[in-house]
Assembly symmetry: C2
Homo-oligomer: 194 residues x 2
């Protein structure tokens, strides 16, 4: 592998749009070879709160997914419970609350699995992925406009699941692949790797 | 599984911001239970051209990744070659051109692997993922501000790779997990599944 490249210098940066949810920044960059470029990126998406996604495991074979209306793609999509950590909450507390609100489960055991980005070239957004185990039934009222569908799948179904037109979200897929590999590795435990 | 839910009715929609790259739309939705909500979503990201990501396979064990400056996360990140299909190009032609521009390879064999979304709740964006095989050396001049790093990895390295701080892009991870599973399945061929 090559040695790390030298980061471009930021010549200027300014906000070019701001809405209730999104903020767009323009940056002028000079690369180490002297080439200058203007970039746009989405920043502050999620208003500075940490974003968390939760993979709820019923056991080493089965996991829980939610089904909700996705305004971006205008259809009902399968995904994993997710949301923003609230002020005063730890990451794992926020994960457990979202799990209770969206899937109707609490978890006695929550562990960080990984951190994912959306589109690092164009967005600063990052999301923490948490694995939830030792589940118990517990529903909290969330801000969902309608009750979410709750579905149970087996890791053996993963190859078919990722080809379904109503499951397209890359971050949830990564959580499933990564957890399945860890659960089926010789060590056999998610915790052993983190 | 439950029966499909009835989609919410769009009460209104209007553009609330537009920049060179991004467009934000506000939508008023009425869910089937009568609850009304205002949503914001990112639309028209990529200006209507199809987006394509390419997984270049050197053989059944090794793949090629690129390393480029990511303005969103402000660091150099590993990813797969990707870009927008240009007018007059087919999806696979666009995939092959991006592969030549970003990684210095052409491919005799290109096959669609899957379609991924970014964040279906908030973005309409979708990306086609293409597997490239039977590679040959071929570099085309792209619009990159500096030459991209090109690195070769083995699928056995995937568990370590997805934990690297300079590899966080969920869509590229999904491409790798999905292709590895297909290549190592009893059928042993990507093509057999598509």
């Amino acid at each position: 592998q090559e040695s790390p490249l030298s980061k471009p210098k930021v010549l200027h940066s300014r906000e070019v749009a701001r809405t209730r949810l999104f903020r767009v920044e323009e940056m002028g960059l000079r690369f180490s070879n002297g080439v200058e470029r203007t970039y746009e990126r989405l920043v502050g998406f999620n208003t500075g709160h940490a974003a968390v996604m939760v993979l709820p495991l019923l056991d080493d074979q089965r996991f829980v997914m939610i089904e909700e209306y996705a305004a971006g793609t205008e259809d009902y999509q399968l995904s994993l419970p997710k949301g923003l950590v609230e002020p005063g909450e730890s990451l794992l507390e926020g994960a457990n609350r979202e799990l209770m609100e969206e899937a109707g489960y609490g978890a006695h055991k929550l562990e960080l699995l990984t951190e994912l980005s959306l589109s690092p070239n164009y967005m600063s957004h990052r999301m923490q992925v948490v694995v939830a185990r030792d589940l118990y039934e517990m529903r909290l009222e969330g801000d969902e406009p309608e009750p979410l569908g709750v579905h149970v799948f087996h890791f053996d179904q993963l190859p078919e699941l990722v080809q379904r037109p109503d499951f397209t979200e890359a971050r949830a897929m990564v959580a499933l692949y990564m957890a399945r590999d860890l659960l089926r590795s010789p060590q056999g435990d998610v915790q052993s790797t983190i």
